[in-house]
């Protein structure tokens, strides 16, 4: 199935979850998310968990946590 990550099409096995797509997209980006520097969001701006299950054609994005946290 194909998933778009940060606008880049990623061909991945069916039944893959968010972390699988992220690892295939970029190891550096995967490390940033694992270290809570970034998080993954769907195209509506909602955060999705790394174990989130995906269907072909979905789009996900990484964003810096600093940009997501509400400012004091």
């Amino acid at each position: 199935m194909q998933i778009k990550m940060n606008d880049q099409p990623i061909e991945i096995f069916s039944g893959a979850c968010v972390k699988d797509v992220l690892r295939k997209y970029s190891r550096a980006e995967w490390r940033l998310v694992k270290n809570d520097r970034k998080a993954v969001f769907d195209r509506h701006g909602h955060q999705v968990a790394l174990d989130g299950e995906l269907n072909g054609g979905e789009e996900i994005f990484t964003k810096s946590i600093e940009l997501v946290k509400p400012q004091p």
């Binding site: 199935m1 069916s14 893959a16 190891r27 999705v48 968990a49 174990d51 299950e53 979905e58």
Partner: protein, 495 residues
């Protein structure tokens, strides 16, 4: 002329008369609306065996019930798979059943992972559950007799809440994302098409809800195609929807995953219809009141005796990456009927398995919860995988079952040749496709080209190893085993 006028009046009036009659009938089937009623619906989804926050959930729900509003608690599925301590309970799923019964769950829409322990187990679970199972796009017959397409819940004040359930299916095989053997005999239909049949529930009920396990994107499609709905409580994509979104007049909610959040929906029903609705998430990973009895239950489940039980006594302690990797890959081939399997070195987290092997040892050896992914691969594609694995660390990384392989390099570790041999020592048929099993980690983190992107077998590598060890296999073969070799040659013939 008189006749023509009569006909015209008939033609114009008939629809109005019919509308009035149907309107009367639908009003007549709806009980008289009580005064303003506030309803609170708590919801969880994709808990995946993460039970630790249930003591907080119980305290929150109990406090709300004391406040006097009408309170319900729904679960949108995927209670199993994700916490080995809970998944390995005997019988499987028992902790989730006892906790959800204790929490007073009102309704469950099964998710794809409700089927992971098999239909027989789910049937036993449903029989002992003190809450109904609701899902409209499963035809189960006698296989799951307690499953209903929709239910109507009633508040003490007489408000009728109709709820139908939906489960996701994969585009390829039309089945939910679980191992196909686990849902044998069940018939699934496309969820959004099935949902249309439930528009009629609008008449005759004050509140209409879709309790779904189809993912947030399909929840949005459902909201757009079915404005008759008041609310969709969703699951599957592990989406943190906070606050709940109003889409086409339908409130769409989902509470992340792993019991990190509890969803809370508030509805105000006035004059027989929902006039106010809002929803948000309560974060559970912080200090808050806990139900003492539920806390004790959680402690009991977390000390699962099955986890420490010896599943096999080996004739030797299996030690070293070659032996452990061979054992793990043999397990994948044996359990899933694969020709070849690979295990990366980084996924082998113990140096040795003791002779008395427990389930806890298996999850210490293989703790990542990686799925087995099956890919149809040619020998040329297999060489590409081995090449990438070797180049990552400049050494043999992948342990293997079903074949042996030799990586030949020059002094600078440049690969000159990768030779594959079948178990009998003969070269592999270069024109054949083999059923190859790798972990979801290798499938996503290793860079190798193949025609078939592969598919998850919806079962973990650790589960395969447990089943393999329980099958009574002769473990003596792991005394001295090596299947992957690196040969360095200083003089490599030029092509």
């Amino acid at each position: 002329m008189k006749h023509a006028i009569r006909t015209m009046i008939k033609a114009r009036l008939l629809p109005l008369v019919l509308l009035a009659v149907f309107g009367f009938l639908s009003c007549a089937s709806l009980p008289p609306a009580p005064a303003d009623t506030r309803i609170v619906i708590f919801h969880s989804n994709d808990v995946h065996g993460k039970i630790d926050n249930y003591a907080k959930v119980a305290a929150i729900i109990a406090a709300e019930r004391k406040s006097g509003v009408e309170v319900f608690y729904f679960c949108a599925g995927d209670n199993f798979t994700g916490n080995p301590v809970i998944d390995q309970y005997v019988p499987p799923g028992e902790p989730m059943l006892e906790l959800l019964n204790r929490l007073g769950l009102d309704l469950l829409c099964p998710g794809n992972h409700e089927f992971d322990f098999g239909l027989e187990n789910l049937k036993k679970f449903a029989v002992r559950a003190r809450f109904p199972f609701v899902c409209a796009n499963i035809q189960a017959g006698d296989l799951l007799p307690l499953l209903r397409p929709s239910v109507v819940l009633k508040t003490a004040s007489g408000i009728r809440i109709a709820v139908f359930g939906l489960i996701q299916i994969e585009a390829g095989n039309g089945l939910p994302s679980t191992h196909p053997d686990k849902v044998k005999g069940l018939v699934f239909s496309e969820p959004l098409t099935k949902a249309r049949e439930f528009k009629s529930l609008r008449a005759g009920n004050h509140v209409l809800i879709g309790l779904t396990h189809i993912g947030y994107e399909d929840d949005l499609r459902l909201a757009r195609q079915m404005p008759e709905l008041d609310l969709i409580i969703g699951a599957h994509s592990h989406t943190r929807v906070d606050p709940a979104e109003n889409v086409n007049g339908v409130l769409v909610a989902q509470a992340g995953s792993d019991n990190k959040f509890l969803g809370r929906i508030e509805l105000l029903v006035r004059g027989g219809r929902v006039v106010e609705k809002k929803g948000g998430l309560i974060e559970l990973n912080g200090p808050m009141a806990e139900d003492a009895e539920v806390k004790d239950m959680i402690a009991r489940f977390n000390s699962n005796p099955a986890f420490a039980k010896v599943i096999v006594t080996a004739p030797l302690a299996i030690a070293g990456k070659e032996a452990l990797g061979s054992l793990m890959t043999d397990a994948m081939c044996h359990v899933h009927g694969l020709d070849i399997a690979f295990q990366n070195g980084g996924g082998i987290r113990l140096n040795r398995l003791p002779q008395q092997i427990t389930i806890k040892d298996i999850y210490t050896l293989d703790p990542f919860g990686n799925q087995v992914v099956e890919i149809a691969m040619t020998p040329a594609e297999i060489r590409g995988l081995i090449k990438n694995s070797f180049e990552k660390g400049g050494n043999i990384d992948l342990q293997v079952s079903g074949i042996t392989y030799v990586v030949r390099t020059d002094d600078a570790r440049q690969i000159k040749e990768i030779r594959l041999s079948a178990a009998d020592g003969m070269p592999l048929d270069e024109n054949r496709q083999f059923k190859v099993g790798i972990s979801s980690y290798v499938a996503s983190a290793y860079d190798f080209s193949r025609q078939d992107p592969g598919h998850s077998l919806q079962s973990t590598t650790a589960e395969a190893l447990i089943r393999y060890l329980q099958s009574g296999v002769d473990l003596n073969v792991y005394r001295d085993v090596r299947r992957a070799f690196w040969e360095k040659t200083t003089e490599y013939p030029r092509p």
